[in-house]
């Protein structure tokens, strides 16, 4: 299932603040998610169509927001409580469906459908003027499904790119269904195979990289999968490309249809079973962006846990993982619902606010043309009543 439909993406911020307030006024009604994590929606200026497909913090505290239409905006004071002090500015345009942003120094590394690009402002006029192709080492052919999601830089400076198949069943262009690592020099390192339809990519505190894959052939439900280098993620259509690379060894045996994941994992050496399977239509229907809480408590007691968006359900889920015998496994929890606009990209900034790039609409993959004003969502704020979740929630993590 495609992660991006063409609905507008709004930009929501989940902002955590530590507040001490008198609770007596609300004793009658038990507190809910919205009482701990209020929502704030960034005020989007008129004329800006934001399909917020990727998010990144710039070094100067500005928020970079990429749109599916190929623009990148910089938002000044994105955490400001007032709309007046927040400023949107177009930084770059004309790119092809940006699905990954990573800052290094002052430069943005942008993953678009066709390539990973270094975008820089060489004359410091607040407008990007250099678009340098770092790597275009994969194929695209015009099919709608051939998306490319890019990670942030890993510890070695590589960007990880997960490449959606051609449609649901085929791999008609080079490395479709694979994860590639792009080195700082632009070299391509084929890293994993078996990918179907990614919805997001992110890292945990150990530097291990995960992506979400979507329900469809070879994927009974959406899942969070660990991109262990050399692994096969379960969908065999892209395995034809083992013919052109020896980077991750021999082509694995194809899985048997109708079998079970753990049976196949025992049988196929390279097969990496999903870390978490999201119960279909209970937790969500199209898993999307991934963020790791590295705020050391500023976002709550979830240090090291992953937060995963779901487009259809307009939620953010929480995932706790542990590594057992070299493989990740874990559990997922509902975290925040009511985003009401289809969650896509997710990011937690160091100060403890979560940003969710979201599309507007009714939270399903719709085929209708978007209404031009539906991208504007009024601000909502998250508040956390710290004392309330202490006893039970802490134990779980």
């Amino acid at each position: 299932m495609p992660v991006f439909s063409r609905c507008l993406l709004g930009l929501l911020a989940l902002l955590l603040l530590l507040v001490t307030e008198d609770l007596s006024a609300q004793e009658k009604k038990p507190p809910g998610e919205e009482d701990y994590y209020p929502l704030l929606t960034l005020p989007i200026p008129q004329g800006v169509v934001l399909e917020a497909s990727a998010l990144e913090m710039m070094g100067n505290g500005k928020l970079a927001v990429a749109s599916r239409r190929g623009d990148i905006y910089l938002v000044e004071n994105p955490l400001s409580p007032s709309a007046e002090t927040m400023k949107f500015q177009l930084y770059a345009g004309g790119l092809h469906e940006v699905l990954g942003l990573s800052r290094k120094g002052k430069d943005l590394f942008v993953t678009q459908r066709c390539e990973v690009t270094r975008v820089a402002d060489t004359n410091q006029d607040q407008l990007a003027d250099l678009f340098e192709t770092l790597s275009d080492g994969w194929g695209i052919n015009g099919d709608y499904h051939e998306y490319a999601f890019g990670s942030r830089h890993d510890r070695e400076g590589n960007i990880w790119v997960v490449l959606c198949l051609t449609g649901s069943f085929n791999s008609d262009s080079r490395y479709r269904g694979w994860c590639l690592r792009i080195t700082p020099e632009g070299k391509v390192i084929p890293t994993c195979s078996g990918i179907r339809s990614p919805g997001g990519i992110g890292m945990n505190t150990a530097g291990d990289v995960f992506y979400t894959d979507n329900q469809g052939p070879w994927n009974g439900t959406c899942s969070l999968k660990h991109l262990r280098p050399g692994s096969f993620q379960g969908h065999p259509s892209g395995n034809r490309w083992y013919e052109i690379t020896e980077a991750i060894g021999e082509r694995p045996t194809d899985p048997s249809s109708g079998s079970r994941i753990m049976t196949e994992a025992d049988r196929i050496e390279q097969f990496e079973p999903p870390a978490v399977l999201f119960p279909y239509k209970k937790m969500g229907q199209s898993a999307s962006g991934i963020a790791c809480d590295t705020t050391e408590g500023k976002f709550g007691p979830f240090q090291g846990q992953l937060f995963v968006g779901d487009q259809t359900f307009s939620t953010v889920m929480r995932v706790a993982l542990e590594k057992v015998k070299g493989h990740y496994q874990g559990a997922c929890f509902p975290f925040r619902s009511g985003l009401d606009s289809g969650s896509l990209s997710v990011m937690i900034e160091p100060g403890g606010a979560m940003f969710v790039g979201a599309r507007t609409g009714d939270g399903v993959h719709v085929v209708d043309a978007p209404s031009p004003c539906s991208g504007l969502i009024g601000p909502v704020r998250f508040r956390l009543r710290f004392s309330m979740f202490m006893p039970s929630a802490m134990v779980l993590s």
Binding site: R68, C114, E115, R118, A128, F131, T133, A369
Partner: protein, 919 residues
């Protein structure tokens, strides 16, 4: 001698009634043959020779009376209907009636009575034998006219042009003297047979007097049902009706029927209420030949089909319409069929169908035969007698039926043994033309018809025909085919006042132009002859707002009519247009002129499937193939000259140009541009102002970039729109320039509204598509072919771009150790501005043997410093290059130049090459 009997399944009361009708009509004064144009134009007797010549053809005189070739050409005949399978089309009773008294059975018929000279006893015998013979060629399959089709059929009959030649049949309609009258059609045809005839009348009546109206199956069935709505057929099934509340098909043997009776087919309307009932139908089907048939049973709610006592298909339970199917092998002949049905609640539907063994899927009702029973009193079923038929066959040849009617036996038409005198030598006072025809055919001619025929025969007897002018030949042809019923030409003909209201439109705002078929005065200068022939052979539907259809007459029938029109109507041509612009520039201007930002032709004319914003007049995409270029040129500047009363305005009133900035601002070039644009027909670019909701990307102060799937520039396309209204697309896969164009930049709606798939072409015009191949290569010598294959393989890497002044991109790529910067800049802000390309090379090393590829093209001409490419556009190359080398590349000519490096103070090497594109 064996005697075979075949009983007709469905004659009876209706037939008896029809016989009475024939009897009574024979009491009226006998009609004369009717030829519409004769009725309309020759009642004054002012042109007896022309009138007589018309009759000589329409009465098919020369089928019996031989004439010289020249006269045969002058007198094209209306041939008689093909009778190959007349038995499957026409009821035997009607054949008998037609033979007995043609003018009574079909008033106004041009079929003569051939048997008048026989003694009454002999005559009846001959008629019986001929009837049996003709009936032996096929079998009528009767089905009732579905009542639900009648209304549609009535509408079609009165809208599409049937009533241009036939009388309207609505209540209160008066018969008109210029109509071809119709017999009581239910006495002649079955519903299927008439529908088949209407669908392709030319198969039965090849001479085209009854033209082909391009009816589809449904329309033919509807008109047939309307015309035969009076057809009453005997019941062919029995039913037993039950009431009760069941969840599944009940066991009918335990139930007592509320009502029993006879009906037609499996008709649920015999039920007395809408819910909680059941019906059991019984009948007999006649299977035409041994084989396997597939039965389909569909119902809401449950049903069962039983053949010869065995269940074939069962659709049990309560449900919406649901079909099940089964195959059954059946022998030729009769089989008992039973259908059981029950309805619990809601909708009620029952469909029983079969197919296979040569039969298309059809209702099983069509094969139903009435269960055996005693004949009704007065019923005279027809029983085929093969012995009588054999004698009829001989009569068919001997009496001369075969002179006019084709009837094939074993693939060969039966010959005629009738002998008639030469037409030139025939005595006009005896034979067919005498008061008492004797053994000659009796046409029931009127006195005037006789006189006119005699006048024409005098001409024939006088020798070879005189040459006719093109205009006279056109008149003759339009008369024969009754074109004048719809079309006026040179003040002759056109829609009769009495029929005027029968010509209708759904675009009343357009006035009479929308409903009255076009004037044919000057048509030979307006339409291309090949288009006229296309219309003769295929009919036309280019005016969808006009309900009357232009039918097919067939080129072979109307002869050289298109050439005659051209010869008669030739326009004085204006001086030839001087070619000042390339055809791409003209198309671009033409597209702009017809669109919303131009003269807005799109307000009233559709463009293929794109609707106009006002009235929906004839589509612009059909104009080029239909219209003569010279006529178009003269028409658009003064439409009223050619179409008096037209609502078409001119865009250039009195020669004024309202958009002087397009091209050179002359009427001549702008009209030429519109015509050149229309030449693309339905493959043309959609005019501005039509089609969808584009998201138009446009450069205003700065250049604008669009990276996406761009048609012509690949999956890594980079479109650049410049404020000067020039645009380009760079193909990053091929590391090369792919297209240049002018005007609008790109429409992003496909990629931004959809899921982002598919290739989007440029939105603008004057698109120059270039071969997307890299411009640099290291060659051994000037002979080595330019490398093919993926640029990556030969050492290319795309490196992106940087933005220079006004955000114009400088493309950057690498070839081996050479860094390339490739920059494009429009040279002016005028229409169709040229674009200058500056290629800068930098290398640490002096790369030897480096060549620059200027162009490869089918046709190249050197014009001073420039190259003219494909006689169409100019390319100029300059800079750090050596001597130009022209060489062959397959069938094309390739131009390459060596690159001359310059050493810089820093010790690196540089070169700059400039190309100017003027297109």
């Amino acid at each position: 001698m064996t005697k075979t009997h075949r009983t007709w399944p469905c004659r009876c009361r209706v037939i008896v009634f029809l016989f009475l009708l024939f009897q009574s009509s024979s009491l009226l004064p006998a009609e004369s043959p009717r030829v519409p144009a004769y009725q309309r134009f020759h009642q004054q007797g002012t042109q007896p020779v022309e009138a007589g010549s018309l009759l000589l053809g329409e009465l098919n005189c020369t089928s019996c009376h031989e004439v010289s070739d020249a006269w045969a050409e002058r007198l094209p005949v209306k041939t008689a209907p093909v009778l190959d399978q007349v038995g499957s089309r026409v009821r035997p009773q009607f054949i008998t009636a037609m033979l007995k008294d043609p003018q009574s059975a079909k008033p106004g018929t041009t079929m003569p009575d051939l048997l008048g000279h026989l003694e009454p006893g002999q005559r009846d015998e001959a008629i019986e034998q001929l009837t049996h013979f003709l009936a032996s060629t096929g079998t009528i399959h009767d089905t009732p006219a579905p009542a639900n089709l009648v209304l549609q059929g009535e509408r079609l009959f009165h809208e599409i042009g049937c009533t241009a030649c036939h009388d309207p049949r609505r209540e209160g309609s008066e018969p008109l003297p210029t109509s071809i009258s119709l017999p009581t059609l239910s006495a002649k045809y079955s519903v299927t047979a008439l529908a088949q005839f209407l669908k392709d009348p030319l198969a039965i009546r090849p001479s085209g007097r009854m033209p082909h109206l391009n009816l589809n199956d449904g329309e033919a069935q509807q008109i047939s049902s309307y015309l035969l709505r009076d057809l009453q057929l005997p019941p062919n099934s029995r039913f037993a009706y039950f009431e009760g509340n069941w969840q599944d098909l009940p066991d009918f043997s335990t139930l007592e029927a509320k009502e029993k009776g006879e009906g037609h087919g499996f008709d649920l309307s015999v039920a007395r209420r809408r819910d909680q009932f059941a019906i059991q139908f019984d009948g007999t089907i006649v299977i035409p030949k041994d084989g396997t048939y597939r039965f389909h049973l569909g119902s809401d709610d449950g049903s069962r089909l039983e053949i010869d006592g065995e269940t074939v298909v069962l659709v049990g339970g309560i449900h919406p319409l649901q079909f099940k199917s089964a195959d059954r092998e059946l022998k030729q002949g009769e089989h008992a069929v039973r259908v059981e049905y029950f309805e619990q609640g809601g909708e009620e539907v029952l469909r029983v169908e079969l197919e296979g063994n040569g039969l298309k899927r059809q209702p099983l009702e069509g094969l139903l035969k009435m269960p055996r029973r005693d004949p009704l009193p007065g019923e005279t079923p027809f029983t085929l007698d093969l012995e009588l038929a054999a004698r009829g066959e001989q009569l068919f040849s001997r009496l001369g039926c075969a002179s006019c009617h084709q009837l094939k036996r074993d693939g060969k038409p039966l010959p005629s043994q009738q002998q008639a005198p030469l037409l030139s030598g025939s005595n006009p006072s005896v034979g067919c033309l005498a008061e008492q025809t004797g053994p000659a055919p009796d046409y029931h001619l009127s006195g005037r018809q006789r006189a006119d025929l005699q006048a024409a025969l005098k001409q024939v007897a006088a020798g070879e025909p005189e040459e006719l002018s093109a205009a006279d030949q056109i008149t003759t042809t339009m008369t024969r085919f009754n074109c004048y019923a719809c079309h006026q030409r040179d003040d002759v003909g056109g829609v009769e006042t009495a029929r005027n209201a029968l010509f209708m439109t759904n675009q009343k705002e357009m006035g009479d132009e929308a409903r009255i078929p076009p004037l044919l005065t000057g048509v030979g200068s307006k339409l291309r002859p090949e288009w006229m022939d296309h219309v003769f052979n295929n009919g036309a539907n280019d005016r969808p707002y006009m309900f009357t259809r232009m039918p097919r007459f067939q080129k072979q029938n109307v002869g050289p009519l298109s050439e005659l029109f051209v010869a008669a109507d030739k326009l004085e041509p204006l001086p030839a247009v001087e070619e000042h612009f390339s055809s791409r520039q003209l198309k671009a201007a033409g597209r702009r002129l017809v669109g919303a930002k131009g003269y807005s032709c799109i307000k009233c004319h559709t463009y293929g499937s794109h609707k106009a914003s006002g009235v929906q007049s004839i589509s612009m995409t059909t104009m080029f193939k239909r219209l003569d270029p010279e006529w178009f040129r003269q028409y658009v500047v003064n439409p009223i000259r050619f179409r008096p009363g037209t609502r078409m305005p001119t865009a250039w009133p009195e020669g004024q140009v309202l958009l002087p900035n397009v091209l050179d601002g002359t009427v001549e070039q702008q009209v030429h541009a519109v015509w050149t644009f229309l030449a693309d027909g339905d493959k043309g670019a959609i005019p501005f102002g039509l089609g969808g909701n584009p998201i138009e990307l446009a450069a205003t102060d700065n250049a604008i970039i669009y990276r996406n799937f761009i048609e012509g520039a690949g999956s890594r396309g980079i479109g650049v729109g410049y404020p000067e209204k020039a645009n380009l697309a760079f193909d990053a896969n091929q590391v090369s320039l792919a297209m240049l164009w002018h005007g609008a930049f790109m429409d992003a709606s496909k990629h931004w509204n959809g899921r982002g798939q598919g290739y989007q072409p440029p939105l603008g015009d004057n698109v120059l598509r270039l071969e997307p191949r890299p411009i640099l290569a290291v060659l051994e010598d000037a002979e080595e072919p330019w490398p093919t294959g993926a640029p990556r393989e030969s050492g290319y890497r795309f490196r992106g771009y940087r933005l220079a002044d006004k955000l114009k991109p400088v493309f950057r790529y690498q070839y081996k150790e050479i860094q390339v910067e490739d920059f494009f800049d429009p040279t002016s802000d005028k229409d169709f501005t040229p674009v200058r390309r500056t290629v800068q090379l930098v290398s640490e090393k002096e790369v030897e043997g480096l060549w620059f590829r200027v162009i490869s093209a089918d046709q190249l001409e050197i014009k001073g410093n420039s190259l003219q490419v494909d006689k169409d556009w100019l390319l100029t190359v300059s800079g750090d290059i050596g001597q130009r080398v022209l060489r062959k590349e397959g069938n094309r000519t390739e131009v390459v130049v060596p690159v001359s490096w310059k050493k810089t103070a820093a010790g690196t090497y540089r070169a700059e090459i400039i190309q100017l594109y003027e297109w």
